[in-house]
Symmetry: C2
Subunit: 199 residues, 2 copies
DNA sequence: GCGTTACGAGTCTGACCCGTATCGTATTTC
DNA sequence: GAAATACGATACGGGTCAGACTCGTAACGC
């Protein structure tokens, strides 16, 4: 976190906000262009941002801290279900999976998969990001049960995995190139709702 | 590919099969111990395998070629559905997702996620590995339709994503730590079969 | 036993990178 | 205008690694 705090005003030249921006942007750009997290070097970021290395080290302790800030910037606002139709809310939530405001996110997200399971810290960070989103879906499912739209005997957690999984593997892994991503949320939700068995 | 071909017999000392094995094993071991693909160095592999660097370069053009062979080794045999019950076959196939004979696979697989989408070559390799498995599941679903167990109007491709996704995100990303992986295949298959909607 | 090839171990050059320090300059407060 | 802090640029020592190379030795066919 860059100290944009309420400092009473320190003497000397203040830190350039443009440099802050340039560094974060350069980081995200390089990642989106295909660099892996660990292949990403401070030197490359500095050059790309048109900034001296010292300017980066003055703000962040190291690559990890910088990445943390950069990725935070990437996270979009959470989708807000309308609350009318359970099906429509689920389509909205499923469609929001792995979708961020920043178009670079699509390229960057797959890189995070390995990082997430390497250290407990990063795993926790990841869980912190997705758990409110999971909670949102959980509430919609519970509401569906309460309203009598969904069966009362379903396993909510498994159902969430059912809805999330297909979207995630498609967006992050491009699991099946022939699958149309555009219509996938709707089709997934409907399939899960109706089941595939003959009745 | 190591040339274990049908060479008529070349003069000189033959390549050591033990060295071949040791190099591949060292590679997989290092990956399973948490090394990332790109952090993995030929030098480290050579040291771990008790082998000279030249011995590796004599066999493979570079890290990529070596990794290709190593990962090939990792892929287990494909599950073979019994063909009696569609449900049981699906449970078997879903349970086999991301599950390999080699226990190291579980640690290694997440690392491949980013690599897969970096280059067209690696993406193709990945598709080559999973597409026969996808075909297997596709056939089971078609059989289910033919036998009248599954509805004829389902989208087979979406259904496959539905069955595969939850298992994959759980095994590869540990998406939800609270989800019991053991019973997941059965629960996923049943949920997809029956749907979650009140009927 | 001779030519050939492989072996493990090691060396060497040239990259690239980290994190710190030091330039001369620019911008701010007092 | 002086002190303080920032800036971009660049140099530094210390580190890792790729690949090509060199040892002396080992295993094979003829």
């Amino acid at each position: 976190m860059t100290s944009t705090a309420d400092a009473p005003r320190s003497p000397g030249r203040p830190r350039s906000i443009r440099a802050d921006e340039a560094i974060i942007e350069a980081t995200l750009d390089l990642l989106a262009e295909g660099s892996t997290i660990e292949a990403l070097s401070i030197e490359a970021i500095a050059t790309r941002a048109g900034v001296g290395k010292a300017t980066i080290y003055r703000r962040w302790a190291g690559k990890d801290a910088l990445l943390l800030d950069a990725l935070r910037r990437l996270k979009g606002v959470m989708a807000q279900p309308a609350g009318h139709s359970v099906r429509d809310d689920l389509v909205l939530l499923v469609g929001a999976i792995g979708k961020n405001v920043d178009p670079r996110a699509a390229k960057i997200m797959p890189c995070l998969a390995p990082a997430v399971n390497r250290s407990a810290d990063q795993f926790q960070l990841y869980q912190n990001i997705i758990s409110p989103r999971r909670q949102l879906m959980r509430e919609v499912l519970r509401r569906g049960i309460d309203e009598g739209v969904l069966r009362a005997d379903i396993d909510v957690e498994v159902t969430m995995a059912l809805l999330t999984g297909p979207m995630l593997i498609q967006r992050v892994l491009q699991w099946n190139p022939d699958l149309d991503e555009q219509s996938l949320p709707e089709r997934v939700v409907d399939a899960v709702l109706e089941g595939i068995q003959v009745r």
